[in-house]
């Protein structure tokens, strides 16, 4: 039927390497999500409660992250910073780029989450004698977390998908590794087909874990 012979053997032989690279993908995505959540929380709070340069910084960060392509942001951290003498390794570039992007998107989700928690909750907590830190960490943030749990899961999936851009800046995560093997063996279609399956499995795993976690976390 086809004028093309499929050769799956080289792909199968390097499958362990690909799976190893898949773990790198997961590692980078998870790390950037952790950084992104922390930064996003700060950005959301700065955008809502601060005035002056801090608010301005938060708004600029969020709008830049949301209104330019992720690939552009990666190029910026790679070539842009390289031009002024800051040379990052591919790993740091992808980590910085993904964290920057995730922080921007998550900040808006957090802002929505904070707005969904009534003001009176914070006031009541303060009336009960909690200080601001306690009120936030024990009363407000757990409620916000419930609202933003689903968006965070989505963002985690996006982080995994976005980390595939590492291929273009020479980082050997799943896509980069695939590109490397594909250009060595010229079995481009076969390699990328297997990689697509691996990505699908990773994404489904994340969604399944998130669902299990949700069952455990939101029992009450």
């Amino acid at each position: 039927m086809f004028d093309y012979n499929f050769h799956w053997r080289p792909v199968l032989r390097t499958l362990p390497d690909l799976i190893q690279a898949g773990l790198t993908t997961l590692e980078v995505a998870t790390l950037s999500m952790v950084i992104g959540i922390l930064l996003g929380l700060c950005l959301a709070l700065a955008r809502m409660n601060m005035t002056g340069p801090l608010k301005w910084l938060a708004v600029t960060w969020i709008e830049l992250a949301r209104n330019t392509p992720a690939l552009f942001q990666l190029f910026f951290f790679g070539f842009g910073l390289g031009a002024i003498g800051i040379n990052l390794t591919p790993y740091t570039i992808i980590l910085a780029g993904l964290s920057f992007n995730c922080a921007g998107y998550l900040a808006e989700n957090f802002r929505g989450g904070f707005q969904a928690v009534p003001d009176t909750q914070l006031k009541a907590a303060r009336c009960l004698g909690m200080n601001a830190w306690q009120a936030y960490t024990r009363i407000v943030i757990p409620q916000v977390f419930r609202v933003v749990y689903h968006p965070i899961t989505n963002q985690m999936v996006w982080a995994v998908l976005m980390s595939s851009l590492g291929m273009l800046i020479g980082f050997r995560e799943l896509s980069g590794e695939t590109q490397f093997f594909a250009s060595r063996t010229f079995r481009i279609f076969e390699y990328f087909a297997v990689t697509a399956v691996l990505y699908y499995v990773i994404v489904k795993l994340i969604l399944a874990v998130s669902r299990l976690l949700a069952m455990r976390l939101f029992r009450y």
């Binding site: 093309y4 709008e63 552009f72 851009l165 990328f192």
Partner: protein, 220 residues
Amino acid sequence: MQDSISFFTGFGINDLLFLGEAALKTLWISALSIAIGTLLGTFFGWLLHEGKLVASFTIAPILDVFRSVPLIIQLVLFYNFAPIIGLNFDPFASGVVILTFYTAALVASVARGGIEAVPASMRRASRSLGISYWQDLFYVVLPIGGRAVFPAWIGVVLGVMKDSALVSVLGYVELLKASQVLITRTQEPLLILAIAGAFYFALSYPISRYANKFEQRWSK
């Protein structure tokens, strides 16, 4: 006597025009795929709503693949798969095909949400008034459901526009690829990336602001 030839020339007004032209290409490829993808996606959304069990075993998993595999992998895969089945697509055509299906997959869930946002009682009421099924769909469901999911649709549009940057992997010279070409020639990454970023921002930010305004007006 000049003993060294300069390979790198400065950034001039022509280059700005080159970037502007590339921005138009970005706009063109995204507008085309968003237009076709939205129509296709709305159709899929309708199928998902109507053929509940059948659709959830046939087209739902296929659409899911487009959402769970990185766009860059999809593009490389399709670009290398098309010649195997005897289609000779240039980078632009391959980009449009994949971006269209990608948009359709995202729009399908949005459209389904839109249809489900219309209360069943309202649809029954319109049918009781003697309106046919198709009239009900176009004159009742489309205006009401469309309004409910308009912000979500804008989100998809902006996402696809930014993701169209990835078509550059296939060699289509859109905005980001054009900036890469210029960087190679002028060796001024920071300036050119800033300009390319400004172009993206100028394309995306007004739309997202407009969508926000729209959402606020409707939530009142």
